[in-house]
């Protein structure tokens, strides 16, 4: 009976793992493909040879890791087993895939007119699009995301502190309307927003886009920050006030340091949003000196896709990595945000 139930349990978990691996493959494979093409494509064709070969190395390696973790009796055995697997995998990878790896697809980082270079490789001389320097787009993206983050954090902290600590007529109404704004789909405002920016002369300027994005992030950020401020004990503030600090001093010196995690969380979140933003910049920005990384990526895809997959995927890796790093680094804070925040 006990043996049978253990057997059932094991069968169940094998089935679960099998299911999860099967449904996750359609996601893992394309990302993996992107990386392998970026570092290996030579002729510009989207070859899958390197993908399948590196899969051949990685899949047994992952299974071996898993087996060592399951079978090892103690920590030392586990480390030994993992080190051995890693070594074997590294050698196999070096032999099977190593010779194909190169960095030539990252030509767009040093050569602004890479589209012509890429085209001349396949014998086409004309018709290449004039791309701005990638670092220009990179700087624009940094500027939009950075400025947006600074403004959102400042404005949201001030407003959230006031809403959390002060009683004033209209406070309840304001909180309620904030709640509505927070859930309100801003994408529906894209037509009037376009017209408004046109009429006040901010269309096709980075400043206009930053203002719009700031306003759209605000309700959410204020909400999150209010949650964090609510969690700061009153005693801290009270003792600062009895020591003679004014309310503003107490806010700056005593309360603000307490919500460091909240500030970090909304900073990262806002920054990522600014970095990824596509639809508003696509609609509001026209000149190619105003391009952000998302527009750069879009037009590279549009123009070079049929010609050279290697360069397109190299741009993709260049664009993807910063946001993945931010997500992973901020995971802890983002989790806190969803727990301490409003989504409960």
């Amino acid at each position: 009976m006990a043996a049978r139930s253990r057997y059932m349990h094991r069968a169940e978990s094998v089935a679960l793992y099998g299911f999860l691996v099967a449904v996750s493959l359609p996601i893992i494979l394309p990302y993996f493909w992107l990386v392998t093409i970026a570092f290996s494509a030579r002729t510009g064709v989207a070859e899958t040879m390197v993908l399948w070969r590196s899969t051949l190395v990685l899949v047994p390696a992952v299974i071996a890791f898993w087996l060592t973790a399951m079978l090892a009796r103690n920590r030392r055995q586990m480390w030994l087993g993992m080190a051995a697997t890693a070594l074997v995998a590294a050698i196999a990878f070096g032999l099977l895939v190593g010779p194909d790896l190169h960095l030539r697809n990252f030509i767009f980082l040093v050569e602004p007119d890479f589209a012509s270079v890429v085209r001349s490789r396949v014998g086409e001389v004309h018709g290449a699009m004039q791309f701005p320097n990638v670092w220009h787009a990179f700087a624009n993206s940094l500027l939009i995301a950075g400025a947006q983050t600074v403004i959102v954090v400042t404005v949201a902290s001030l407003a959230a502190y006031y809403l959390s600590r002060w009683q004033f007529p209209g406070r309840a109404a304001m909180l309620r309307s904030l709640l509505v704004l927070h859930a309100f789909p801003v994408l529906t405002l894209i037509v009037p927003m376009f017209l408004m920016l046109y009429w006040i002369g901010l269309l096709d300027t980075l400043f206009g886009v930053i203002l719009v994005l700031v306003a759209f992030e605000l309700p959410f950020a204020i909400f999150i920050m209010k949650g964090f401020f609510d969690a700061v004990p009153w005693d801290i503030e009270m003792s600062a006030l009895t020591d003679g600090a004014s309310r503003r001093q107490a806010f700056l010196r005593v309360v603000l340091p307490q919500v460091r995690n909240g500030i970090l969380a909304i900073s990262v979140f806002t920054f990522i949003r600014g970095w990824e933003e596509y639809i508003f910049v696509f609609t509001f920005l026209v000149r190619n000196t105003n391009w952000t990384m998302s527009l750069y990526m879009y037009y590279v895809r549009d123009d070079v896709m049929g010609v050279d997959y290697g360069v397109v995927s190299a741009v993709g890796v260049f664009y993807l990595v910063p946001s993945l790093i931010l997500y992973v680094a901020a995971q802890r804070y983002l989790m806190q945000m969803s727990i301490g925040g409003v989504k409960g």
Binding site: S13, H182, P185, M196, I279, S294, M297, I339
Partner: protein, 316 residues
Amino acid sequence: MAATNELTIERRGHTRSAARRRANFVIFLGPAIVLTVLFFVIPVLIDIAVSFTDLSRSLRITKFTTEQYQRIFQGDRRLPQVIGLTFIYVFGTLAIFNVSFGLVLALATTSINKAAGGFFRGVWLLPRMSPSVLYILLWLWAINPSEVGLLNQVLMHAFGLSKPLDLMTAAPIALIIIANGFIGASLGMIIFTAAIRGIPEHLFHAARVDGAGTLAQIRFITLPALRWPISFVTIYQTLSLLVSFEYILLLTKGGPFYDTTVYALYVYRRAFESGQYGYGAALALFLIVIGVAVALLGWRFFDMERLLQRPRIEVL
């Protein structure tokens, strides 16, 4: 004399405190209020105003008219098809991915080893974490209609398909549902996972002692505990699917022809492709109204008591 002095001091103190109160209000809340009014309230008003004009590509208003609304209710023959498609798209994505598959993922990843569960959840978060342009780029590669496409390689080599498949023309609606669903599933997954973690462990122990199998445990313990999270995800995802068109615009541009143009994308195409801003504004107004209505529903989901709790000290 002394009494009046005291009174004036008190009064002066009072006015000064009121002034400081006002100053604090302006400093702390001012910027937020200005930005919100400027970019939420005014655009809505502009939208209403513009929907009663004939604003088009020249961006000049020549007359005020209700013809945009006449067109919506009588003239536009494409609109019924667009609305029908929107229904299929929203409910298809919601039912298959955002709720059901999100729930399946949450259940599966919480019943295996914790680290492994975290890994699979991380994989499913990948589409949400990658920028939209890049995510769609991967889709365009994967479904490339020639034999270099990833899907076609798998289909042709592993399943013996003789001709490469062009998903974009063969099943465009299924394509946009799947592409959006891969992203949508992760939100449900996270929220449901948190809710499942919150169920007291002893309930499962008790059920097991009573002889309940895995399915019975899910049916009688997990699902009842997930009632609120499920309705939350359903309502919010309905709204966001209804208004968002970014991935569809990038993936199919609403085509072939108008086959994948959902309502929100129809608004966008009318305004920015055909330059009919007035008509676009009128169409957008319906989405705005739905947005406000669903956002108002959100009141039910929040702990209003906690949100509105009074601040405890009244010091300046």
